[in-house]
Symmetry: D2
Subunit: 248 residues, 4 copies
């Protein structure tokens, strides 16, 4: 079977401007995420970044992507609308999308949700986080034992301004007193979308084994290589008459 | 109790350019819909159209609207993006939205759904349509006896490119052989959205008693006058510290 | 408008056998809950208990109930199946149901969910709980400011073996490190169901103002006085022929 | 990879008592369904019937079943409650369930839905049915071109007394004027459930190629061979203390 083709998109700004981030992610967060995915024999992950031509998301690049992961934070507005249109079109055609951490506020995630996707609150104190598994047999939670504990993290708190998730995989407990729907699945068109909350740039979260495992699982879950091209819902011309549809 | 303030928005183009439409809706479709709603003692409906300044949807107009109904068809692209932004913001704040007929392809409906909202097919032959009630006790179906029959209508066929409805009120049977999810509810932010399929411009559908009844019911259902203003999910500054949240 | 008729059902066993519970709830938990509801001018709450004839839930009693609240814990098995059948029938006809605390394992709640409704874990150490509001504008959260804090409570932990909630109102943070979907809405037949987690018998939780407020809000939300009797889905005999349905 | 182990359960009464049914399904409907599934190289289907010891659904038989298909009609009441308990337990553990045709009223399907599962109406006149695809890229619709047409069928009409489907694959158009949600997916516990409407005993529907294809697709979709046994949500003893859960 062909490998799942993943494009790991990164904003790639903190890594350039901040020494402390560079220290945690010397090759960039995108490369770290891609490296983790490439540990799996059924996945082939490459990277793309904001700074590249068309943000690295050309028509051709997306046509060859089964699953796109997205990490953005301080430059959501710099992502060109035409690229967002293009990505949305591909998701609706069946490409999987994994929105990571601060990408709750990315143009593409908000576009697909239709809502503000605002948080109730946030806080960066390096506190502890526990992602509890709500659906233990879900493919995305495969291999996770009751919860994932992240020793130092950024807090995101409810209310999270999203449509009610179609599948609730993880809910997070924060040491400081908040909760967050941290692993959620929705379907849009032919595509599946997974939002996953962990991943602040100053902590080595994407090096953590359980986080890498969830990302591999999620890639497999939102990937739908089998989607046949001619089934995308489309406007059909009025020439499709009663007779053509077999009216008696 | 204060009346529900409805703004009935109409594209108002067919009525100007087509003699046959003008004959069916001499005062315009928007006025016909508003007249029907105003039969109810708890509703106060006014109209707004594409041609007005800011399409009649100024900040002030929307601030004074509890429920917006939308009818558009051939000029979706002429609706300015800034007005769509404004309407979306108000829906997420809690204003109800009723998208009618060809508004499945309006900017505002697609914006809130996140999908193509494409149809599988359509056909205009004046055939018969039956909207079957799927949730007989739903407030939107109140007073409807099993189904609504519309003698002459335009056909819209599945697949309808929407996220799976959160509430399924009506499904339509078409004489020519198709089906359509014709009465669907979703929640987005604080707002409720109802899509209702009937309403082709060349047939007197908005004069039909059952259709008028459904629209009154739907206005009451998506209206949420009680929403208190300060509860809109919002980004809170990081100053909301552990201490402020009452950490032990 | 007629008052909402609520029947507050209580297992009424801890109150009889435990001095410490009797001290917290001298009139019984059911009476405390009913008293809280009766503070509202639009609600008329009475009580019924396990020990009564037919558990106090006769055909007549249920026919005169708009909303039933349920509190059970150690005697789920003593509830007769025929009474569970009767309550289920009434919920499907449109009676609202509020399942409280340990009633996650009651026969009636499991019957309506179709699942185990098991918890992942529990613990009684009198720790603190915070119920975070996930849908700030939801009628059930009306008047609640971001979260409810309960100083001493029993812990219930995810995974909670329920179908994915149709509306997610509250998620709880526990001091000891767990989370729980503590305020959830589902629809079954014509009825609405609200599960609300707080309410351990050894703590005065049902005397807390915010808890009383949520229960009043919830009664109003799951109540659907307007349901017209003849709309309950039913099997219709085959005599309903093509002709009767208006076949052309 | 191991084959998917399917048990095709049949009531097997019409086939014994009715000459006309025997003529259509000389080997029984269950055998016909199993034969269709066994055309697929990744599926191994066997049969079980009402008349067998424990209805052919012993603990061992179910332990060796990945997907159970169910066809019942006139003898739902003869299925023993203890067997229904056992099947429900297995579905919640992760066994897939496909409920066929009149099994909308089977004990097991109603048990998992929590509702009446009543129909609005039915009719047997041998009319035509079209199952329209609502989610063209869904794995269950793979290989189906817009709709399946069944030349002679029994009519089932809305309202269908089910919880709102989590995935809507097919909606049926009937020649006589009704619609029906004829292909629906729900999740319960670890299991997936697919209801599929076609299959009246007097018509050779289970010999039709598209119907056989949908059943094969559905078996693959509701099958979750990968479910690891120790993740089933369960009650954990209070000995799981704060310390054990890693409380700081």
């Amino acid at each position: 079977m062909a490998k799942i083709r993943v494009t790991v998109w990164g904003e790639n700004l903190h890594e350039q401007s901040s020494e402390s981030v560079k220290k945690v992610y010397p090759k960039g967060m995108h490369q770290c995420i891609a490296d983790g995915l490439n540990e799996a024999s059924d996945i082939k992950a490459i990277t793309a970044t904001l700074q590249q031509q068309e943000h690295g998301l050309t028509e051709k690049a997306l046509a060859n992507t089964d699953v796109l992961t997205w990490w953005g934070h301080i430059a959501h507005d710099q992502v060109k609308d035409e690229i967002v249109d293009r990505v949305q079109k591909r998701v609706l055609e069946g490409m999987g999308l994994i929105a990571l951490h601060a990408s709750f506020h990315s143009k593409i995630f908000r576009r697909l949700m239709g809502t503000t996707c605002n948080l109730g609150c946030w806080r960066i104190t390096g506190e502890k986080e526990r992602l509890w598994v709500c659906q233990p047999a879900h493919p995305i939670a495969k291999g996770i034992d009751r919860f994932i504990e992240i020793p130092h993290t950024e807090m995101y708190g409810e209310p999270f301004g999203i449509p009610v998730p179609e599948e609730q995989i993880f809910i997070t407990w924060f040491e400081g007193g908040e909760v967050f729907r941290s692993g959620n699945v929705w379907r849009r068109g032919n595509g599946r979308i997974f939002y996953f909350e962990p991943g602040h740039e100053t902590f080595p979260i994407y090096f953590q084994e359980e986080v890498k495992l969830v990302l591999k699982n999620a890639v497999r879950y939102v990937c739908q290589q089998s989607i046949w091209k001619d089934t995308i819902p489309m406007m059909i011309t009025p020439e499709m008459t009663l007779e053509k549809l077999g009216k008696k």
